[in-house]
């Protein structure tokens, strides 16, 4: 049996921060560990086989954390695992009561809204791209050669699908913001 497990597009399978945390916790309980999160972890991550552990993971989106961010969590006993885009990851081994980094409903909703804000940045970038290509196709189609036009139509469809997907993700996160 391999001692490595590669997971692709994990962040797209577990959209809600709490679902993502629970999935990581289950992986650790099955003995699959990840000790470091990186920029591209949402797309590609490697788990290594080890002893099963009971870890509580925390997914915390913070675009520009203040300098006391890491010391504060560390004081509370959390181990820093790095960041994946603007999402910071923490874990803590526990027995008995499961530790929480967000101890009231308001903080959980706020954490989830920060996640929506992060997705909305990508959504806006794709929206602008789709609109720009759309305008080119609508008003300047005559000035384009056939191959160029075909390429633009393909690009429009491709970016359009991504934009719609991001929109659906935002609606889903919004509906589940208190989880």
């Amino acid at each position: 049996m391999s001692d490595r497990k590669i997971v692709l597009f994990s962040a797209f399978r577990y959209l809600l921060p709490s679902d993502y945390e629970n999935w990581l916790e289950q992986m650790a309980a099955d003995g699959w560990h990840i000790n470091r999160f990186r920029q591209w972890s949402s797309i590609f991550m490697v788990f290594r086989k080890g002893e099963p552990k009971r870890y509580r993971f925390v997914y915390d989106p913070q675009v520009s954390p203040r300098k006391e961010y890491i010391p504060t969590y560390e004081q509370f006993g959390w181990e820093y695992l790095g960041r994946m885009a603007s999402a910071h990851f923490w874990r803590m081994e526990y027995e008995g009561e499961r530790p929480e980094a967000f101890s009231d409903h308001e903080s959980i909703v706020k954490r989830n809204r920060r996640t929506i804000a992060a997705v909305s940045v990508s959504f806006i970038i794709f929206l602008v791209t789709v609109l720009t290509i759309g305008i080119l196709l609508l008003f300047f189609a005559d000035t384009l050669s056939n191959p160029d036009r075909t390429q633009l139509v393909i690009a429009e469809a491709f970016f359009g699908v991504i934009m719609i997907t991001l929109g659906v993700v935002m609606v889903f996160l919004r509906k589940n913001e208190s989880r």
Binding site: R66, E68, P71, T72, Y73, Q75, F76, W90, S103
Partner: protein, 107 residues
């Protein structure tokens, strides 16, 4: 005038305030860092409220940017906070509101 505006803004934003905010603000009548706030609140509420790191971090950031608390000093990478006069005013008004509430419902 500015001072008056700040007070009005803080009232709108913080009164009524969440239990978490109340206890964090209250615990900063004495200088404390994040972890000490959690310990103090845990003790005060006999273990009922155990503030999380993320909640403490974001609440302190919010209270500081609104001027209700300030940074007193730093110690081994830990930032130590204390309540400001504006924070004390808001805390007293909130205590008066809760007291009224309590007086109105008891017997």
């Amino acid at each position: 005038m500015d001072k008056y505006n700040n007070l009005e803004k803080a009232r709108k934003r913080y009164i009524p305030m969440s239990e978490t905010m109340f206890y964090i603000l209250f615990s900063l009548k004495q200088e404390r860092h994040g972890y000490a706030i959690m310990q103090y609140v845990k003790e005060l509420t006999k273990g009922r409220i155990i503030l999380g790191a993320g909640t403490v971090y974001s609440s302190l950031g919010k209270l500081e940017s609104d001027g209700l608390i300030g940074s007193a000093r730093e110690e081994e990478r830990r930032k130590i906070y204390a309540i400001t006069p504006l924070g004390s005013e808001i805390l007293h008004e909130e205590i008066a509101r809760i007291t009224e509430l309590y007086n109105n419902v008891k017997e």
